[in-house]
């Protein structure tokens, strides 16, 4: 192991890290939307969407570098989450299940001129799609959607929503369909960007659908295939978002290591104290283990052989590792980390978000257990 025990940064990782750094600190409140839109345009120009949702096959090594580099360079996990919601939550389903007409949207999603959001979660239904309350009914060639969604990432800026709705809750998952709904459709109402303790750099809002009429052709996949579309989106989101966490962990390890080597207490660097040293070792072990896991997961995802349980396992392990390392980094930095706006403070709050979005750790365990045949 050399000085910092990390594998070298591939060029794409380096470029993505510098790109992330160039965006600066996300605004909160006034100016937040302008910051987001400007950063989005820059991300398109840097080719982020080209790499994360290409015309042809994904290039796994480049994807891994870009995810990790963005996770490292961006201030906090909010903006990467917004990118993920667009590329994985929204577009992955379209790429897999969309028809020719629906796929015409893709160039605008790639060049940054249109933004997408996945509208699945509801006050009473998170990972449990069978409890969806958003309904649709068919009137000739039109589908009419009504219901309320919450915690929708990117909703403030989204031009398109991929909406999950059920024809009849009694049909369970077979009743669920997915719809491509333009923001401009009458009856779509987007709430405010919810104030929250972390994940700044993207928007999270409620979205209401009140008798929203879309043509039958807005349905993505077949009627009753909505749950499958949703599972596909989650598979992508869970695998890929872990790549962002990885970057954050790498950065935290490096800054904590250098802090531990320079900050003096009792006449020596704090890293010379065993308890601090042990934290850094733990952070390194978590980072390197997570890196192996993410690499394998993304490679299997690209090959089309990844199971839902495997994606959940990676999401579970890496988001918990990121939280544990976030706590370690916070402790290593002592009082400095507690000051408003400190990097480790921001990152710790965002790491808390990480064990919630795209399914809580508890839900991931349920999914993994069910793949083990341990269904209740």
């Amino acid at each position: 192991m050399d000085g910092n025990a990390l594998p070298a940064e591939p060029p794409e990782l380096q470029a993505a890290r510098m790109f992330g750094q160039s965006l600066g600190v996300p605004r909160i409140g006034v100016g937040a939307e302008a910051w987001f839109r400007e950063s989005w345009t820059k991300a398109a120009g840097f080719g982020v969407f080209e790499v994360l949702m290409p015309d042809g096959a994904l290039d796994a090594p480049t994807v891994l570098s870009v995810l990790e580099g963005l996770g490292m360079g961006c201030k906090g996990g909010g903006f990467p989450l917004g990118l993920g919601a667009h590329c994985f939550g929204f577009a992955s389903g379209l790429l897999r299940f969309g028809d020719e007409e629906q796929k015409r949207l893709l160039p605008s999603l790639r060049d940054g001129s249109a933004i997408g959001a996945l509208a699945a979660t509801e006050p009473g239904a998170g990972s449990d799609v069978m409890s969806l309350r958003t309904r649709f009914r068919v009137e000739g060639d039109t589908c009419v959607l009504t219901g309320d969604k919450c915690f929708i990432t990117n909703a403030r800026e989204a031009d398109w929503f991929l909406v999950l709705a059920t024809k009849n809750p009694r049909l369970h998952y077979r009743g669920v369909s997915a719809f491509l709904v333009p923001r401009s459709a009458p009856g779509v109402e987007v709430g405010i960007d919810e104030p929250r303790m972390g994940m700044h750099g993207c928007s999270v809002c409620s979205v209401g659908f009140d008798e929203v009429r879309v043509p039958r052709s807005a349905m993505v996949g077949l009627s009753g295939q909505g749950a499958t579309v949703f599972q596909h989106a989650l598979l992508w989101e869970r695998s890929m978002l872990a790549g962002f966490h990885l970057g954050m962990m790498r950065k935290q390890f490096l800054t904590s290591l250098s802090y531990a080597k320079t900050r003096q207490q009792f006449g020596r660097p704090i890293g010379a104290h065993q308890q601090v040293a042990a934290r850094l070792v733990d952070m390194l072990v978590r980072y390197r283990t997570s890196a192996l896991l993410v690499r394998e997961t993304v490679t299997r995802l690209v090959a089309g052989v990844l199971t839902a349980g495997e994606a959940s396992l990676t999401k579970l392990y890496v988001s918990e590792a990121a939280l544990a390392s976030g706590t370690d980094a916070f402790r290593v930095h002592g009082g400095m980390g507690f000051m408003e706006g400190s990097d480790v403070g921001v990152e710790l709050r965002d790491a808390l978000g990480g064990i919630l979005y795209s399914g809580t750790s508890e839900i991931q365990k349920v999914i993994i257990a069910s793949e083990l045949g341990l269904d209740p």
Binding site: E12, G47, F49
Partner: protein, 460 residues
Amino acid sequence: MSKTQGISIPKQWCNFLYDFPQYAGQDVPRGVALLTQGTRRVSVVPQQPLSLVTQSNSISEPYHEIPERLLELYSQYRPTPLRRARELERRLGANARIYYKYEGLNVSGSHKLNSALAQAYYYAKAGIQELVTGTGAGQWGTALAYACKLFGLRCTVFMVGASLRQKPQRRAMMELFGATVHESPSDATEVGRKATQKDPERVGSLAIATGEALEVAHGGKRVRFAVGSGENCVLLHQTLIGGEAVEQMGALGEFPDHVVACMGAGSNFGGVGLPFLRAARERERSVRLLAVEPAACPKLTRGLYALDINDFSGTTPINRMYTLGSNYIAPPIFAGGLRYHGTSAFLSAMLADKGFDAMAVPQREALSAGLLFAECEGLLPAPESAHAIAGALDLARKHPGDAPPKVILLNISGHGLFDLSAYEHCRSDTLAPDAPNEALLSESLRHVREFNTRITGASS
């Protein structure tokens, strides 16, 4: 797809980094990159999209696929001809067979279109709406203007003042394709205004023009700086030249002993030469590449192999390369494309390992060689390309008559139809002196040395 001499356009670019991974990385000491980053740098968006970053760095694949759309556009003017210069051979009476590849048959008049099309394609794909660049002789600017027109991008060009005044037609050409053209140093940028104070005649240099373009590129959201040479991705796009030439020579039953090209920052030299290095390895043959530079801007033969910045503003990342220092302003020779102070980092590393040869020729010798070529072969080469001819003539003349004949391939990187005044001055013996300003040169080199001592000292 069109065929010339029985060959078609390569479907792939030749990734020379795969052959020479040892020269791929940038050996910039740790910490230096950070030290040289001004506070402004940190907020600068990386200028290249990831597709080009990969092309500039990947060592894992021997080829990069050329997208279908680009192949279509390349077929407007490729494959370019490769011919034997029989009249020239006769006139020389030398013991050599001389072949030339001719890149002047497109609207930009040079090889520059090979990369301009590729870059415009990738930038447009990433949603960029405008490209800004600096150009020396104007060929790169013209190529980019045309490529931008095809892909619906706006184009802004800063052209080195000395060259612009020599060749006003170049400006007209760029404007024809809708580009906005500034004479550099210009009053449009801070970099330009600062440079004008030191250079009131507005002779300019590519380092200044590049600095101006970068300043503009930082201003806008969907604007990026496009680079005409030196970077690995540009060399990669130019490997079309060598890729075709390997096939064309093969069809004639030939393999060159020497491949000769002029050196600006290295794109036509690398483009024609690097595929031959691969072919030589595959076929167990040997080939020597020769880079020819002007005596007025002798970075390969008199420069330092050192860390240096690429543009006058110091915004671009530093490279270890053969350089005369970004403060060096070469005499205003007609081969404006060869006045750049630095060299491709990849090629520099290779030269430091003696992986190819380099020579410098004075302007008069180069232009005379160009005229001789024109008289014999009926093609007027660009003054830049005339340097390659001078190099090839030198090789041919030095080869002893009783040895097996030498096979020489030279690259004519562009035509000289906008450079008639250069050839007139040559014929009438009224060329201005082109020897480097020795005081300026040694001052600039001293500056590079100091810069290196300072940053390597500070980073260790």
